[in-house]
């Protein structure tokens, strides 16, 4: 009986980057997992939490916990959403003991996509093939809150035909930061431009990351600068054949 994995695609992937979700499902199914997508899912509540609206974040988080209550594993193609669920739900349910217990119970089952592959599926080679020169952007939450750093690089290293070139500012924030990107647009834009300068220095034709929000910020800046470099979520690279 193949292991059951519940997919939390995240609202940004659902609405703006659906191919990323399909790629995650493809990779997991090829590895023999049974992927289910609880349709009642919406969002993890991070936008409200980051903006200081904890009551509203709680409402959305409660819905998440109800939807995924019976999951064995929850795989998320985003470092920031994983971090919200696995670390910050604790902060917002301090006064609601039943949801706090549920949050604590689910936290160890929530995995950012690359960590799920490395730690649970136990693989760093998924048989992917992509002929391209890419560079990797370390998404802040994935890097600093989930310690995701070597895993994606190992996975990329085993993609046939792929060349990975490190950029000098790989660990620097792309400037998205949720509502920061619009509340402090000029600074956010400046940070994005610093990032793309670093990307350009590698000569890569694509940027890979584990967070679609970062990729949206980076791709938006690249497009504005007229640069023909594309962005790919790690899942899309790993699903390539």
């Amino acid at each position: 009986m193949p292991a059951r994995v519940s997919l939390f695609v995240t609202c940004i992937v659902d609405q703006l980057f659906p191919k990323v979700g399909m790629a995650v499902a493809d990779v997991l199914e090829r590895l023999g997992f049974c992927v289910d997508f609880p349709e009642a899912q919406t969002c993890c509540g991070q936008p409200a939490f980051n903006s200081g609206y904890r009551a509203e974040a709680r409402q959305v988080a409660r819905h998440f916990l109800d939807v995924f209550r019976d999951a064995d594993y929850i795989v998320v193609p985003s470092g920031s959403c994983t971090s919200m669920i696995a670390h910050h739900f604790e902060d917002i349910f301090q006064k609601e003991l039943d949801y706090l217990a549920l949050a604590r119970q689910l936290a160890p089952k929530v995995y950012e996509f690359s960590r799920f592959l490395i730690e649970i599926a136990g693989v760093d080679d998924v048989g992917a093939r992509l002929h391209e020169v890419v560079t990797y952007h370390d998404s802040c939450h994935a890097l600093r809150e989930l310690q995701v750093k070597d895993g994606p690089r190992r996975l990329l290293g085993n993609v046939r035909g792929l060349e990975l070139r490190e950029m000098d500012a790989a660990e620097e924030c792309c400037g998205f930061g949720g509502t920061f990107s619009v509340k402090f647009a000029e600074v956010s834009g400046g940070m994005a431009r610093t990032k793309i300068d670093s990307i350009l220095r590698t000569g890569a034709s694509a940027v890979v990351s584990v967070d679609s929000s970062c990729l949206m910020q980076i791709q938006g800046a690249l497009a504005r600068a007229g640069r023909p470099i594309r962005t790919l979520h790690l899942a899309e690279v790993l699903a390539s054949r």
Binding site: V9, C11, V13, D14, Q15, L16, F17, P18, G21, M22, F37, E39, Q41, T42, C43, G45, P47, A48, N50, S51, G52, Y53, A57, Q59, V60, R62, H63, D91, C140, H141, L143, R144, E145, E172, C173, G175, F176, G177, T179, F180, S181, V182, K183, F184, A185, E186, V187, S188, G189, G190, M191, A192, T194, M216, Q217, Q219, G220, A221, A223, R224
Partner: protein, 462 residues
């Protein structure tokens, strides 16, 4: 961000400081770096949690060595004390070594109102004093000044012939300040650490001005926030190791002074009088908030500033108070109230680089998030920012109802421009032009809406 040359200077200087720190904390040179951080955090935690005890131990030991401890609740009390002492001793000239705490309380302004000359002796601080400006960075106060600007300053204020060679500018300042050191009646310093079991203060520096400030004049007054306390001299093994490396990549700064009172017995030189002013000025307020109390662990190394992508873009003068960068962003609202600058906790992408490099492991992003929540609660109480609050309430309601969420998604997709087949768009139609979209588009392109959402694709595939 308006001045591109300054912008570049800040970016470059902080970049260099980051690199220096990296070289000083890597696994070859400092294999126990992470353990040191853990220990430093634990010692600071213990000290802050028992601060009243250590303040009293410190006071006892300072007194035993012939010094005096003065507790001051605010800036006015400090100024009153210094002025009172200066008057009693008929003092006219004061030399000061670098102290962010004295900037915090605007001490120089207060002293100058009473015809006391208070001269900054750290080169960078001296220059910005001449320029009547605030420090730009916790460790590099004159980061923003070019040598041409310094040349102008020296000529204007000192009347010396114009000199643009940096080494010579430094020697001009050295000569002027040496006279001040030797003539000063009182030397005022800050303190990097207060050592409870020794009744001592610790001062770290590279120039020698702190040593001169505290050794040449007959009276030494050290002014420090109560949170600078550490329990034992032996804890300095950990703290000194972390401070130099985190700030400038130096295993030790050129001079580290451990001063525990006026000169004793047959010692030949040193001050005759030694005072330590322990300042509250709002620290007890921060202390009272259990979740944010760790903000007081800060040892003022500046590493968070150097690593913050926001600080590196906008620099120190964009911050509303003396403390800038990530530590400034969490201290300012706690000292001055969230309403003082309610946007400040939001001026961060929460990347976490600051927490990663903080030698005492302050969880700055967590405190920023708590402050954001505090701001919104205040807004709710005061009835401000209603539109945003309503927007998030509606958003939360939609997000709790999957079918509404799906419909909202489809509606937004139908209104959005489709770009050229999965492309990115530069403009959106007037109908849906809202401020957040405008802000986004001011800096980068927007992804066009895909024809089908993930859940639609999923249903088709199954």
């Amino acid at each position: 961000m308006a001045d591109p040359k300054l912008q570049l200077a800040v970016f470059a200087a902080t970049g260099r400081l980051m690199e220096k720190r990296r070289k000083a904390v890597n696994a070859q040179v400092c294999p126990d770096y992470q353990e040191l951080r853990t220990q430093a955090h634990a010692v600071k935690r213990h000290t802050i949690e028992n601060l009243d005890h250590y303040l009293e131990v410190f006071e006892r030991n300072v007194t035993a060595h012939g010094g005096q401890v003065i507790f001051c609740k605010d800036a006015t009390e400090v100024a009153d004390f210094v002025l009172g002492l200066a008057k009693a001793r008929i003092a006219r000239l004061i030399v000061k070594s670098k102290s962010m705490t004295t900037e915090e309380i605007d001490l120089n302004e207060r002293l100058e109102h009473h015809q006391l000359e208070a001269v900054e002796t750290d080169l960078g601080e001296y220059l910005i004093q001449l320029a009547h400006e605030r420090p730009y960075h916790i460790v590099a106060p004159a980061l923003h000044k070019t040598k041409e600007q310094v040349a102008d300053l020296l000529t204007e204020r000192l009347g010396v012939p114009r000199e643009t060679v940096i080494e010579k500018q430094t020697m001009i300042a050295r000569a002027v300040l040496r006279e001040k050191f030797l003539a000063a009646d009182i030397g005022i310093s800050g303190a990097n650490f207060l050592v409870a079991d020794s009744g001592a203060i610790v001062l770290v520096e590279n120039e020698g001005n702190a040593r001169l400030t505290t050794s040449a004049p007959k009276i030494h007054i050290a002014i420090a926030g109560i949170e600078k306390m550490i329990p034992r001299a032996q804890d300095l093994g950990v703290f000194l190791k972390l401070l130099g490396r985190s700030a400038t990549g130096q295993p030790l700064t050129v001079y580290t002074s451990f001063l525990s009172g006026p000169r004793r017995g047959a010692e030949i030189d040193g001050p005759d009088e030694f005072y330590v002013v322990l300042l509250d000025n709002g620290r007890t307020k921060v202390l009272a908030d259990r979740g944010k109390r760790q903000s007081l662990y800060c040892i003022r190394c500046g590493a968070c500033l150097n690593h913050c992508p926001v600080y590196r873009k906008i620099g120190g003068h964009s911050f509303p108070w003396v403390y800038s960068g990530p530590i400034g962003a969490i201290l300012t609202p706690q000292f001055l109230g969230v309403n003082h600058e309610p946007g400040l906790p939001f001026a961060s992408s929460l990347c976490g680089a600051c927490a990663e490099v903080c030698p005492v492991k302050i969880d700055i992003p967590k405190i920023l998030l708590d402050l954001r929540s505090d701001v919104k609660k205040t807004e709710e109480r005061e009835g401000t920012n209603r539109v945003e609050r309503l927007a998030f309430r509606v958003w939360a309601w939609v997000m709790r109802h999957p079918r509404l969420y799906e419909m909202a998604g489809m509606a937004a997709a139908s209104l959005a421009p489709s770009g050229n087949g999965g492309g990115w768009v530069r403009n959106v139609p007037w109908g849906i032009r809202v401020p957040p979209l405008d802000a986004w588009l001011s800096q980068r392109d927007l992804p066009s809406a895909p024809t089908k959402s993930f859940r639609q694709l999923w249903r088709e595939r199954r």
